[in-house]
Amino acid sequence: MSVVRVPPVLREEAGGAREVEASGATVRELLEDLTVRIPALGARVYGEGEIRSFVNVYVDGEDVRTRDGLDTPVRDSSTVILLPAMAGGR
């Protein structure tokens, strides 16, 4: 099981949780597992076999788009961060 950090703007979809767990050896497997466990959250970050636009996924601090995308390996000890854009300043 890897830890998935839920950003504040997606917490409602995760029932308010700041962190959830999901498993998978790759980002694809992990996001598919996440979608099964918490469909509302999964749907915001993953759909039609792709990471959604406007959301970045980081495995251990690195953007998976700069690595192997959905094939990026995930370990049990990995921390996955989901990051949609956030604009607030006031």
């Binding site: 950090r5 950003p7 504040p8 703007v9 700041r18 915001r44 636009s53 406007f54 970045n56 980081y58 601090g61 690195e62 953007d63 700069t66 961060i81 990051l83 949609p84 854009a85 956030m86 604009a87 607030g88 300043g89 006031r90």
Partner: protein
Amino acid sequence: MTTYRELLQQTKAAIHEIDARGAQDLDGAVWIDVREADEWQEGHLPGAVHIPRGYLESRVEGVAPAKDTPVILYCASGARSAFAAKTLRELGYDTVYSLAGGFTDWKRNGLEITMPRTLSPEKRTRYSRHLLIPEIGEEGQLKLLDARILLIGAGGLGSPASLYLAAAGIGRLGIIDADIVDETNLQRQIAHSLDTLGTPKVDSARRTIEKLNPDVDVVTYRERLTSENIDRILDDGWDLIVDGADNFPTRYLVNDASVWRGIPVVHGSIYRFEGQVTVFKPHEGPCYRCLFPEPPPPELAPSCAEGGVLGVLPGIVGSLQTNEAIKLAADIGDPLVGRLLLFDALATEFNEVKIERRADCPVCGDDPTITEYIDYVEFCSR
């Protein structure tokens, strides 16, 4: 027993001296003035950095990190710099010279010297806690006094940023904001107060800054940043932008303009209990569009008004932005370039993710597809 004269002779025999002409012909050399502060104040060689002899070992790597960098040392006459050269040889620098005849001969031969600028006694007192830090000192404080920083927004992030930048002695602060101070702002926007309710935020912020530090030249723009006015505002000449905007259209305008003009942006954003900070340094690191190429559609963007924010959060995030701004202005430390810092106030936890420059970035990439401003539709205006 060795006398001073003998020691100096032995030292000079063990190092290389260079004359003024040879030194001027040496490309890429770092020039270090090893004299004391009072001597430096009376003039120094152009382009030299000042490291008093007593601090040489501890600070030289800051100015010459690579040991194969040619280093030219000088003092008043060439004695102290000879000993200094021997020390640098021991530290592993392999191309070290002591300037023969030192500053005295240089000046006597009519070669160019630079008179350092100095702080007035009043400024010396006001900024004394900066002057005591070796990394800032008088030189760094002068850089802060020369800096021109533009703040986007005088709200949650802009409040602490404007106050700390003003207190630090930033020479010119530009503030853009079209809004009026209202009661709901006072839960977090500490540049404003009951006294300025109902007045434009830029005027309210100016009043607060001028009470704190009248030396700061405050330039206000009571308008909303758009593709129409951004060039006029940036033409006023800014070294650095602190972005505390509250909406995507402004973020993207600021980003695109900063890439095209080569102005670094200290980015901060907040939502409820969490904040993000990074520095976008055009062409040296990623830009905002490398992180998020396009703004999200309205249905996926959180509404600012509904979201809410813990009052102290913009204080923390705006202060982190100010820390980056001051480091960039003083040219010290490691800025948050290529790193996005995430702060969670509930857990009191910092995380960091890497942001890389994207070759396919629509603005700063190899083949830019965006070459003029885009006015995205405003969808988070509260």
